[in-house]
């Protein structure tokens, strides 16, 4: 099956992306709002989906919305806020069982109506968002931000990015900052929301089965007033390292969390970008990678150690959970493995294995409605018109020389380590 998405402009800065498939037992509708990642609005943006989910004009509390979703055969509403490079993306999605399976061919229109109402017709009170909802969700967001420390592995990765990119917007935490919450109320947030509706680029996705009536219906419910649409710019890429960082944080934990942050300076538009992806996979992608073999299998230092490329910012992070006293030993092994790759000490078989592994995970996208729409959304963000198949062909053409060339652009920038100094080493 070749994946296709038809992208239609249906309003100023609004695109409808249609993906036709009857392979699944469900349909999926998603809205993506694209914002610049900025300290001015990050917290308000993160709060918005939480408040919008609380109620619509018609279904004015969570209980009514949830009942409605359940009546629609357990349609699944999800929201998310994240950063893609230096863009903050708000997503609203409903996935619902196909009419075919539940013997109800018309209710898909109610699904569309519900998601549309959550986004465009929120519960209002005196012309603004409902005060209680805003206050309660501010509290939830505060807890969400404080809850960063609960997942130690993720926390370490986020903290490494914050330290490494402290002079770049990419360091901004996508759920915002507690200090901003005091200044946000129902009126500030509502005004910001109107702003977002009028000037954000919006990508709508519908994946599953549909006919012309359904497409017309989606077009119609998304006719809204729009102003000058923001041009949300691509983030700058820094190559080279200004200051080398080494940061230690102390926490009451049993396992040390190590993150190494590297600059590659290879943007995703560059001819070497595919080679960089392969290089990172050879180094620390899967269980056949150099780091897995040497750090885990040979030295028993870690249960996990992986390397990943952050596409939009062209940085590479290596992370591992280790004993506190193995900090230097682990870094030495990582350094040696990367040096070897720079000298070309890896085989054609290593390259083949990595290409196959990337191919398998990329092709698996086709088995999930959500991943299919995420894929096309990401293509639209990067102005990349290639199909999934074309991307894989390009990847397949990567040569050893290119991998060596790409690897030689990888420079260590920041070492971040969470340890527990109250534990005797």
């Amino acid at each position: 099956m070749t994946l296709k998405s038809e992208r239609i402009n249906i309003g100023n800065g609004i695109n409808l992306n249609l993906i036709k498939t009857n392979k699944f037992k469900s349909n999926l509708l998603s809205y993506y709002f694209i914002r610049p990642l900025s300290k001015d609005e990050v917290t308000k943006n993160a709060l918005l989906p939480l408040v919008l989910r609380r109620g619509t004009e018609e279904l004015d509390n969570n209980l009514k919305i949830q009942k409605k979703l359940e009546e629609m055969y357990g349609a699944d509403l999800s929201i998310s806020v994240n950063k893609r490079g230096e863009r903050q993306v708000l997503r609203f999605t409903i996935e619902s069982a196909s009419g075919d399976y539940v013997k109800d061919s018309k209710y898909i229109y109610e699904v569309i109506d519900l998601l549309k109402s959550i986004i465009y017709n929120p519960t209002l009170e005196a012309g603004y968002f409902k005060k209680d909802y805003v206050e309660q969700e501010k509290e939830n967001l505060r807890r969400r931000i404080e809850g960063r420390i609960n997942d130690k592995r993720n926390y370490a990765i986020e903290r490494c990015i914050e330290e490494m990119c402290k002079n770049e917007k990419f360091s901004i935490y996508p759920f915002g900052y507690i200090k901003d919450l005091d200044e946000i109320n129902e009126d500030v947030l509502y005004n910001h929301y109107k702003h977002i509706l009028s000037n954000s680029p919006i990508e709508i996705f519908y994946a599953g089965e549909y006919d012309n009536n359904l497409v017309d219906y989606i077009k119609n419910v998304n006719k809204i007033e729009r102003e000058n649409i923001l041009n949300v710019l691509r983030e700058p890429i820094i190559s080279g390292v200004q200051t080398k960082n080494m940061i230690h944080e102390d926490m009451d934990i049993s396992q040390g969390k190590l993150v190494l942050g590297y600059r590659t300076g290879i943007p995703y538009e560059d001819r070497l970008y595919n080679a960089l992806i392969v290089a990172s996979d050879i180094l620390g992608g899967g269980p056949n990678s150099k780091l897995f073999r040497n750090v885990r299998e040979k030295e028993s230092l870690a249960y996990y150690i992986t390397s990943s490329i952050y596409k939009y910012k062209s940085i590479m992070l290596i992370d591992a959970g280790i004993e506190f006293e193995n900090f230097e030993k682990t870094i030495d092994i990582v350094r040696l493995q990367l040096e070897e790759m720079k000298k070309g000490v890896f085989t054609d078989e290593d390259i083949e294995i990595s290409k196959k592994s990337i191919k398998t995970s990329t092709e698996s996208i086709k088995d999930s409605l959500f991943l299919i729409s995420e894929f096309f959304f990401s293509q639209s963000l990067t102005n990349d018109n290639r199909s999934l198949e074309e991307m894989l062909d390009d990847l397949d053409r990567v040569t050893k020389d290119e991998i060596v060339e790409a690897t030689n652009q990888i420079i260590l920038d920041t070492i971040y380590f969470i340890r527990n100094t109250s534990v005797k080493e």
Binding site: M1, K23, K25, S26, N61, N62, L63, Q66, K67, L69, E70, E71, M72, Y73, G74, A75, D76, E95, S96, A97, Y101, V102, D132, Q136, N140, R143, E146, G147, R148, I149, N150, D151, K152, R153, M251, D252, I253, S254, Q255, G286, P287, N288, R293, R296, E297, S300, L301, A302, Y303, G321, E352, I353, K356, S357, K359, T360, S361, E363, S364, D367
Partner: protein
């Protein structure tokens, strides 16, 4: 031997079955148009099976905590090349997991499926343990255990089980402890392997756009056929008293806010097949009706700021244990607990309304149908239900057969103040 076919028109899925000459049961669900092809080979042996009579012996032994999981790690060892490399060369993603009641080995691939299937069967059926490779693994698993020790959600969950169970090994950490794994050696691993990895105790499940004939040809060519036919494996589970061990367990850790688990211990045990699965679905429907996002309880507590959207409950169990778990994050877990106790004290027809039952049932049907989009969902649920003597393809029928009366009866027996535990992790 004949091939069996099961059809279910409601879910538009088919299932094929055959037992091979070597005694392995093979099930296959075709998924046309799917890119991913998924195979899982599982043995009915998990962390709770730590007292048993080894094959060919007379007396029961007790093995170290965490040995089933240790064995899972070590099966990836081969005399020549690392098994990970072999899968990687064919573009397959390979993994394994151990839970309370089974150990499963799986891979998925988009190409070379049949070659990968050969590898899967071969490596699971051919253990290679040496003193050296067993020792080496201890450091790796110690790091895995420590990773979980730092995870407050995992801790609060296990503390809840430790509070509920006096004797049953479900209270033991699946990976064991850094201390308990030290006494594991190659002889013990072979003993567990030979007892539990007999084909009669295993199942192979495959899902994807594939041919069953070709699958059977590969299995027949690859599988070992010289296994001795075994009687049922003799496993011993200690007598678990009805009462719970501790009503309240509290611990402090690095976490931003208190986390809690409230567990209701199940007494209706010893069921298998449809009866057991039905009990599980019924209990989960109840939990969704009274604690789910459309319940009055959830919405009141949410608006008071006592819970957030992470709040929810589910039931899980096998024939020797079972429990409902209600969990979340709260500034005041004890108050959440008190409110739940007050709620279950109310008359049952005030808590469980028929219209809510009907709505939640239709939601559960829709969610199950959507789950069938995912080969992972299909495979993991298939093998989980399989060892309970139940086929996934019958799941929807059982779900549809549940009545309002079933819900009321189960509520009265399961949700009482006598069988409940509160586990809390507080910030340091």
């Amino acid at each position: 031997m004949t091939t069996n076919t099961y059809n279910n028109d409601k879910i538009k899925e088919k299932l094929f079955y055959k037992e091979t000459d070597g005694g392995l049961k093979v099930y296959f669900m075709p998924k046309e148009g799917y890119t991913k092809k998924y195979a899982i080979l599982s043995t009915n042996y998990g962390s709770i099976d730590n007292i048993f009579i080894p094959i060919g012996e007379k007396d029961t032994i007790e093995v170290p905590e965490g040995i089933a999981h240790f064995l899972e790690h070590k099966l990836f060892e081969e005399p020549d090349e690392n098994i990970f490399d072999k899968f990687s060369k064919m573009g397959a993603y390979v993994n394994a997991y151990t839970n309370f009641s089974q150990t499963a080995y799986l891979f998925y691939s988009t190409d070379n499926f049949y070659e990968n299937l050969e590898l899967l069967i071969h490596f699971v059926q051919n253990p290679y343990f040496t003193d050296e490779n067993v020792e080496k693994e201890k450091g790796i698993i110690a790091q895995e255990i420590k990773m979980y020790e730092d995870n407050p959600s995992w801790k609060v969950f296990f503390n809840c089980l430790k509070g509920m169970y006096e004797e049953h090994p479900v209270k033991i950490d699946i990976a064991g402890t850094v201390e308990s794994i030290q006494s594991i050696n190659k002889e013990l691993l072979y003993k567990c392997y030979n007892t539990f990895y007999n084909p009669s105790n295993m199942v192979l499940f495959i899902v994807g756009d594939l041919s069953f004939d070709e699958i059977l040809r590969v299995v027949d060519k690859t599988e070992k056929k010289d296994y001795e036919k075994t009687e049922d494996i003799h496993r011993v589970y200690p007598n678990e008293p009805k009462k719970i061990k501790e009503k309240f367990i509290e611990e402090k850790m690095t976490t931003s806010a208190p986390l809690f688990y409230i567990g209701f211990k199940d007494y209706s045990l010893g069921l298998m097949g449809e009866e057991e699965v039905k009990k599980g679905i019924i209990t989960n429907l109840i939990l969704d009706i009274i604690f789910g996002p459309s319940s009055i309880f959830y919405n009141e507590m949410y608006e008071e700021g006592l819970i957030d959207s992470s709040f929810g409950g589910y039931f899980t169990g096998k024939s020797t244990y079972g429990h409902s778990l209600i969990s979340g994050e709260s500034k005041d877990p004890k108050l959440v607990y008190d409110r739940i106790m007050r709620l279950i004290d109310r008359p049952v027809d005030a808590i469980l309304k028929e219209e809510d039952f009907n709505r939640i049932k239709s939601k559960t049907i829709g969610s199950f149908l959507m789950g069938l989009n995912s080969v992972e969902f299909i495979a993991n649920n298939f093998i989980d239900l399989y060892f309970d003597n139940f086929l996934l393809t019958d799941y929807l029928n059982v779900l549809e057969s549940i009545s309002y009366r079933d819900i009321i009866n189960r509520f009265n027996e399961h949700f009482t103040k006598e069988n409940v535990v509160l586990s809390v992790i507080n910030p340091l």
